[in-house]
Amino acid sequence: MRVDKGFDRRGFLKRAFVLGGTLVLAGCDQLSSADWFRRMLFRAESLTRTTQRAILGPNDMAREYSEADISPDFKPNGSIDPQDEDYLALSANGFQDWRLKVGGLVERPMEWSLADLRAMPSRTQITRHDCVEGWNCIGKWKGVPLKALLDQVGLKPEARYIVFYCADTLEQTLAGGAKYYESLGLPDAEHAQTILAYEMNGGTLPVAHGAPLRLRVERQLGYKMAKYVMRIEAVADFSAIDGGNGGFWEDRGYEWYAGI
């Protein structure tokens, strides 16, 4: 028997297999955090963005659904009950003191109250909300097209991105949380279905879903659709803002272009 020779071939092969597998996995984990390798992986995002921008016309619309398709249990995600003091104060009196400030690289910085926004021409759409986690819900949103606001303030020619600053701090690490923010390129910012919604499923936008105002960007993933929007800024680039990647989740490794 082989055991007598002090050499167990089957056991050896099994151990070699496990050891080899462990080394490969550990190697992959090391690659996952190596700068040069991440830079290489991240290049796929430009390819995806360029390709999708090429096949996606400016007027191509995300599918709109019927009332019957609306999710009865639309899942709120990320911040669902912000505890930031400024936000709690605004929410305490029904956001009457809340103002949406739009500035940056614009001709005429302006601000709007919720009543002002509600008085503007609105768009209502029943759309799919695709979470980066893989699930999706369908909801009805009513709000002001972002383009209407951008037209009023007048973008300066050097403006290339629209940045959304939010009221909520999303706790991530022990080192402390960071305020949520997001950004869009002009093709998506000016798209007909890109709206700032104040109503959901026919009622006032609930706090869990971003009251008083949330962004809808129907051709991208859910994390692009900033909730609790306080301020909007037109910029030439976003590298100086927070982590420099254009959004809260983008600063944590997610794609800035979230059409996939």
């Binding site: 984990d29 992986l41 999708q52 249990d73 799919r128 695709d130 893989g134 999706n136 059409g259």
Partner: protein, 280 residues
């Protein structure tokens, strides 16, 4: 090789079996599919449940992996498939990560990266998805132009004798002599099915999960039955790929691992002489 010593007179024939494009695209595929499966499981773990239709019906998943409620002291992993619960502690639903039992869909050793990190899993997945699609297009274009594709289509005669071929494979008897020069009927069906049906469907279902693609080609998600059905199809196709790989590897091992590996590296393959009727 044993056949030489048994037969006395070696009548082995060396043939050129796999052409360069097939060999190169095969090994690029090995890399891509390994990474795609493992990073795919990482992505799945972000929400380890599947649904049918246009949206997630959270209370009626067709498949779900989770920790059973109230089992924090001694976590129990449960996998639900079409309403049936299975205890899968240690592998699905609950498995060990850094020495502790934690709730996660697929276990740490199967995912890329091993720790929970959806963002990095997506980066791996999409980079290698591009490489996989480019590699697949090269293979398909070359196969079409060179006539290789026709070698994957079984003829009527082969299909008529499929029963005999299955029986031979079950007894682990593989074609020798002239028959071994070409793919047999089971190989043709397996390769045709995986390369021209399962993998393209897997890619289309993956694309249908992209909100950008859905705005450009709304028909895609419609013909697949809605975005959540597309996600389920993507998962089922990936499972079929895993099954294919298991059978493929078993066949490679059983039917002469050295000869098979050499043929996929150098292209050269040794054909064993046909057995004589009194051989065994």
């Amino acid at each position: 090789m044993s056949a030489i010593s048994e037969e006395g007179v070696p009548r082995r024939q060396l043939i050129y079996r796999h052409r360069l494009v097939v060999r190169v695209t095969h090994w690029i595929n090995v890399l891509c599919i390994t990474v795609l499966l493992m990073s795919g499981m990482q992505i799945f773990n972000a929400h380890p449940a599947l649904y049918l239709g246009q949206r997630s019906h959270f209370d009626s998943p067709v498949l779900a992996m989770r920790q059973a409620p109230d089992t924090d002291d001694n976590p129990v992993g449960v996998t639900t498939i079409l309403g049936h619960d299975f205890t899968t502690t240690g592998v699905l639903g609950v498995s060990r990560e850094n020495g502790a039992s934690v709730e996660r869909g697929f276990p740490s050793w199967a995912t890329l990266p091993s720790f929970q990190d959806l963002a990095t899993g997506r980066r791996w997945h999409f980079f290698f998805a591009w490489l996989f699609v480019a590699n697949g297009l090269v293979y398909l274009a070359w196969s079409l132009a060179s006539g290789h594709l026709r070698e994957l289509v079984p003829n009527r005669d082969q299909l008529r004798h499929i029963g005999a071929s299955i029986w031979e494979h079950m007894r682990l008897k593989f074609p020798r002599g002239d028959e071994a020069r070409h793919y047999n009927v089971l190989q043709k069906l397996a390769y045709f099915g995986i390369a021209l049906v399962v993998l393209p469907l897997l890619v289309l279902a993956g694309l249908a999960m992209s909100p950008g693609i859905d705005a450009a080609f709304p028909w895609l998600v419609d013909i697949l039955g809605g975005r959540q059905t597309a996600r389920t199809i993507h998962f089922v196709c990936a499972t079929l790929v895993v099954l294919f790989i298991l059978v493929h590897l078993a066949m490679v091992l059983i039917s002469g691992v050295f000869n098979n590996l050499r043929s996929m590296i150098t292209g050269n393959y040794v054909i064993q002489p046909e057995e004589k009727s009194d051989a065994r």
